[in-house]
Point group: C3
Chain length 356, copies 3
């Protein structure tokens, strides 16, 4: 951070009995508002443009009030107003992406989770350093495009929702597809089935799956729908489609619920624990929701291709619980779990440990 934010000072000034949970009206906001209300919090929706009407259709998820802004940057200017309402912000993917990581880091509001993770998460090299040094297996990197000798996935840095990713099988594919104006990154294309593992890490809870720095939970698992890759096979082979200049794209459009083979759960927890432990060593921790985006190979090995260090939209199918969270507590979404964590932190005067 350019200038250190005085989050502790802000929290000190807060009326802890009147905390308002706020987020931007998109991504997983229905779940966040619904969960916050279930735990007795006031809610505030930050609406960029006219997006408020849909909440009329979902009364349980309708925030108590809206703050309407014309653009994301306006949020930065209105933090005082929000602090007066004792706002704690729940960041989600769209929030961080559209505000921009740099601006988000400067946001003068208490936010759920550790903002220092952004530096490690938004840079694919640092993300890899974090996860591989934690002992987590990732798809291999191909540093030089001329060395592509098996299927690879070319990803652009900071690409929004998978836009622009492409598959290459050799250097000529690469040359055909690459946009040299963007920073890219070439990784081995791992064959298998995808599981997006939705974890929650609490540094303040004491019961459960205990690790060095707190308690690790698995709340749900989804698989992303991606347009057009998911259904393009219906039209013909990729080779044939290429001739018609139809290329695969990887834009997230939705999510389906899945469960994973039960015998893989020890590995699931082990990976989550490694990511968290290493985060505490490197940058003060990973707390709250996070997601490991994985592929399970036919050798039943995990390859983690990405980490998201906040609530992911893949939790949206589980607004009333999942086959995993149902084994912890009825009707427990990730949104509600976040609100519970804030509630527990307020009650035990540990807000500083889960807010940054």
């Amino acid at each position: 951070m350019a200038k250190e934010l005085d989050i502790a000072g802000m929290l000190e000034g807060y009326d802890k009995d009147k905390i308002t949970i706020a987020t931007v009206c998109s991504h997983s906001s229905l779940q966040i508002f619904d969960g916050a209300r279930k735990e007795g919090f006031r809610t505030l929706g930050i609406s960029v443009g006219e997006r408020m009407k849909i909440y009329d259709a979902f009364p349980k998820a309708k925030p108590d009030e809206f703050l309407k802004v014309d653009g994301y940057s306006e949020i930065l200017e209105r933090t005082e107003e929000l602090r007066e309402k004792n706002v704690i912000v729940i960041p989600h993917g769209s929030f961080v992406e559209y505000l921009g990581a740099d601006e988000f880091r400067k946001l003068a509001l208490p936010t759920f989770g550790n903002r220092r993770v952004l530096k490690w998460e938004s840079d694919r090299n640092k993300e890899r350093e974090w996860l591989t040094s934690a002992g987590i297996s990732m798809p291999e990197i191909v540093p030089n495009p001329e060395d592509i000798n098996r299927p690879v996935l070319v990803k652009y840095h900071g690409a929004k929702g998978g836009r622009g990713f492409f598959i290459a099988k050799d250097y000529s594919d690469f040359k055909l597809g690459i946009d040299h104006t963007k920073e890219y990154h070439i990784q081995e294309y791992v064959m298998g089935t995808r599981y997006y593992l939705h974890y929650f890490f609490s540094p303040i809870k004491t019961e459960g799956y205990r690790t060095k720095n707190g308690v690790l939970e698995l709340l749900s698992i989804d698989r992303r729908d991606e347009s057009n890759i998911d259904e393009m096979y219906k039209l013909g082979s990729q080779e044939e489609l290429k001739k018609m200049r139809v290329f695969p794209s990887f834009v997230v459009t939705g999510n389906i619920p899945v469960v994973i083979r039960e015998s893989l759960l020890p590995k699931v927890f082990d990976m989550g624990e490694r990511a968290v432990n290493r985060a505490y060593e490197l940058f003060g921790g990973l707390y709250g929701s996070f997601c490991l985006e994985t592929i399970v190979t036919d050798q039943l090995e995990f390859k983690v291709f990405e980490i998201s260090s906040r609530i992911v939209a893949g939790t949206n199918p589980f607004i009333s619980g999942s086959p995993y969270s149902d084994l912890m507590q009825e009707d427990l979404s990730t949104g509600r779990r976040i609100a519970q964590e804030i509630r527990l932190a307020v009650e035990t005067e540990q807000l500083g440990r889960i807010i940054s």
Copy 2:
């Protein structure tokens, strides 16, 4: 309608405290009976042939009584008997399809929803007129098969559950696949992911997402399973399979639950509102359940390829609620929502506005 039915007169003769909700035993009947019972209605299952036994396995969805008929046309002859039981019929896809749209229009029983929609829905040209004049984007039409210069889907009019649809990439594909004895329709094959949006429109409810003529709801979203297109890729490319004379088919066999990217919800509601508003202008309204069958492209644009103006089988995964209806009320299926609407209409003496 050849002869105008006196639905208002029928309803006048009804004992409103003893309404029976009836439907044909198939499609989404388990959900309809379960929902009706939850709202305190008597239920009657019209069984064509011996289909009653399965209800023994699902006690909550077992109708209070059965009317066994030998064929769909027998229903038309037994309407007096049904009216004596104060029956309101909930039409579903199989009901309308097997009875036939013409016969269904003549059915001398109060039915949920607007029967006048049938004329607009069963003719692909009028359906397109309705939706496009409402400002809803649909896949483009290719009027002349000789002009096929990109992938298209050839659909037969009134095809049952997708049977006989085929993909063509050029005129020679078309000639190979076409059955000239049937009326067909050629539309652009849109690449993307499919979302079947389950709406409910109430002209009598006052709270919620208000539109010109009432309140619009989104109850759930599914994706259809289609045999054999969904899994044929496992066997080889379409080009290769064609050589073995294996062709894709699109017969609906089931449904999976999905959620859509939250930032698309404003568009979802906008499309639903447009369809309903235009229906009121064109033919007196679209009320009760309906479904827009959509594709989301990698530009995050919707293309609507069909509308179903009644309960769809895609609501069946959500017999105890969905990630959307859970934000309105616990344990709310489309079947139950239908029963609630009838209950509200009875209580407020507005049955005439939701029955035709």
Copy 3:
């Protein structure tokens, strides 16, 4: 069985008020423990190696106690200890597979379900004899690999979770793929969509879908995720991938929830009934959970490619109910249904009819 086990004698010695439900910690154990607890049973987890920690993350599914063993065979040596705890074992796929069918048959503990089914289930020829003589349609067998003239699936006997299966379109494919050191079996590759039907059969319940020997239920339906076949199409056609020496594999990694077209339910119950009726004729019955693994063709016909005669992992998405079990009773998983059956048998002194 080499030596007849005296299960009746064991049960006689049991304290029926202190029955403990036990299973091996894997596969569907979370569901089994959760379900047993909901019905008021004590629970015991048999942990092979260090797998116990994950249960800390799922408190509702954490067994009351663990029995830690170093390998599956150690279970056989510790049956006395388990009998002293009035243990009834719930076998699942991993339990039977890793212990070995022969050893499982000799296990000197009361186990849920009919162990005599194993002889019929683990031998693909006997399995086929059972199902086809019951009037259930299966994919056709190709006895001679030289006769392969359409797509076939080559399966190895006793293959674990689909490992090593392959598709062949002709004899040369077969020769390329086959491992002659294993027993194999060639069957027609049926095109369609897969539905794994989770049944429960009770010889002691009296209400419901009654058959000759008891009551048949349908609790849920899933589709298996298989690595790498499910997502390999994203990389290119099978023909192209073959050139890169990338071959499809069929290793189960997870499950997704599905529902089936309602009009197929009468066939679903008919097939289940046939399998059970024939099992009573051939080997004393099929009771408790079982699963027919089916493909639905575009003619809406079922082909059953396998039967599993115990709880399958495909029930795991439904730990709090399914669109089918919700129509019987709230919050009813297969694991809970098993516990209910044991409870009913205890109360009516019929344990001998559901235990072997």
